[in-house]
């Protein structure tokens, strides 16, 4: 019975020629200039080439640098196949031993640091994502205290934040597991560059008594974090105008996740984006 129904509906659709339809909304655009992104264009045109030159290390450059990689790969495979034919009986015994890089462990089962790959044109340090995070202590006794930070983050970044829930319970602070305790935003791509632009041009120059990031900044893997006091939130252009709407300003931290493998490269990248560092002069 249903089978015949389906065939008749298909026949009707064919007869009346119902076209595919797609609906769009005309919502407010993200609060920023459309089209080209200043920092992204700067990175693509100038900064990436400079960083490639400044981070170049001849001892660690990738050995295979081919202009026609697909042809070269075929040649390499043919050569490797030839070598294997001659060395086959001896090589089998040697290949059974596991290479040291395959299994890397640390005492206590701690996470192992990633190995820096050889330098190529594809391993230039760049901004991967920016994470904004605020822990609101007042949310312990009333979760409505998170609303101000939530709204503030949404205004600054034009992305919907997510709530951070407590992972463990701490009796001293009356914290229970699963309790909403913080707000977090992860920015990538266009929104990330817009936020970075605002930060670097407007917020950081207006911070009081801040000489810049330390030259030892970094988490060991090229990511750099920065903490802001509550007064810094008022410096953002979106919040500056309607200051009174937010009952409670919270401090927050900004984490720059980069594709750099070392702190030096991460710092070099950020200083290229005009983030001030505390240099001697």
């Amino acid at each position: 019975m249903s089978f015949t129904l389906r065939t008749t509906t298909a026949a009707i659709r064919q007869a009346t020629r119902v076209l595919p339809r797609r609906s769009f909304t005309t919502t407010q655009c993200a609060a920023s200039s459309h089209g080209l992104l200043r920092l992204k264009e700067y990175y693509d045109s100038t900064l990436s080439e400079d960083l490639m030159t400044m981070t170049y290390d001849h001892a660690r450059a990738a050995p295979s640098i081919y202009k026609y990689p697909d042809i070269q790969v075929q040649i390499d495979r043919a050569l490797a196949a030839e070598e294997q034919e001659t060395k086959e009986p001896i090589a089998q015994q040697q290949q059974q031993t596991v290479a040291p890089e395959a299994v890397r462990t640390r005492k206590g089962g701690k996470p192992v640091k990633p190995i820096q790959p050889p330098k190529t044109a594809s391993t230039i340090p760049s901004l991967d994502k920016i994470t904004l995070h605020a822990m609101v202590k007042d949310a312990i006794h009333s979760k409505h205290n998170l609303l101000s930070a939530f709204m503030a983050f949404q205004s600054i970044t034009s992305t919907r934040p997510e709530i951070v829930y407590a992972r463990t319970s701490v009796a001293n602070w009356k914290l229970r597991e699963g309790m909403p305790i913080g707000v977090k935003v992860t920015l990538r791509g266009e929104e990330m560059y817009q936020f970075m632009d605002k930060l670097v041009e407007i917020v950081l120059p207006r911070l009081k008594e801040w000489p810049g990031l330390q030259l030892t900044a970094g988490d060991g893997n090229g990511n750099i974090a920065l903490g802001f006091p509550a007064s810094a939130l008022a410096l953002f252009p979106e919040i500056e105008g309607s200051f009174d709407v937010y009952p409670k300003m919270t401090g927050f931290d900004v984490i720059f996740n980069t594709t750099a493998y070392t702190n030096t490269d991460g710092r070099l990248l950020l200083s290229g984006f005009s983030v001030p560092f505390k240099t001697k002069n």
Binding site: T25, L147, T279
Partner: protein
């Protein structure tokens, strides 16, 4: 420049994500633990701003889609979308090829130098990697500064 139709689709996607999160948030908010969440507590504390913020964030009505494309218009839209993405892809590939060409030339130059002169090669290798980009290298702006060019600038020497 981003085409308006491209911008609209991006908004549509962001709205979908937003509406999904909006419903998720609204549900969580409604079903969360009632510790201090009673409306009496907030109203009595005098912070009606929080009530306003809560309404704005979680109780704004979802917007209905206003544009509906079908048939030829839809085809045109899809063609423009694909053309724009193709353009971006080509730009990206061009950039990547430029970088690879530059890298190859640096590598070739250093290899050549290594064979030519040992002293010069050692001089060309970077000694200290703990450098930062110069502060004077500002990111280019669309308009010049209101102060104009600073002719009396002097680079501070160590």
């Amino acid at each position: 420049m981003v085409s308006p139709i491209v911008r609209r689709t991006c908004q549509q996607l962001s709205l979908q994500q937003q509406s999904h999160r909006f419903t998720a948030m609204a549900v969580r908010h409604a079903s969360g633990p009632g510790s201090g969440g009673r409306p009496d507590n907030n109203a009595s504390s005098g912070d009606s701003r929080l009530e306003l913020i809560r309404r704005v964030l979680f109780e704004s009505s979802a917007r209905e889609p206003t544009i509906a494309l079908e048939g030829e218009a839809l085809e045109q839209h899809d063609t423009i979308e694909r053309a724009w993405k193709l353009h971006l892809m080509r730009q990206r590939e061009q950039r990547q090829q430029t970088l690879e060409r530059q890298f190859r030339s640096i590598h070739a130059a250093m290899s050549e130098l290594e064979k030519t002169s040992d002293r010069l090669f050692k001089g060309a290798i970077v000694k200290s990697r703990h450098v930062t980009y110069p502060k004077q290298a500002k990111i280019p702006t669309e308009t010049p500064s209101p102060q104009g060019w600073d002719y009396s600038y002097k680079h501070s020497t160590e």
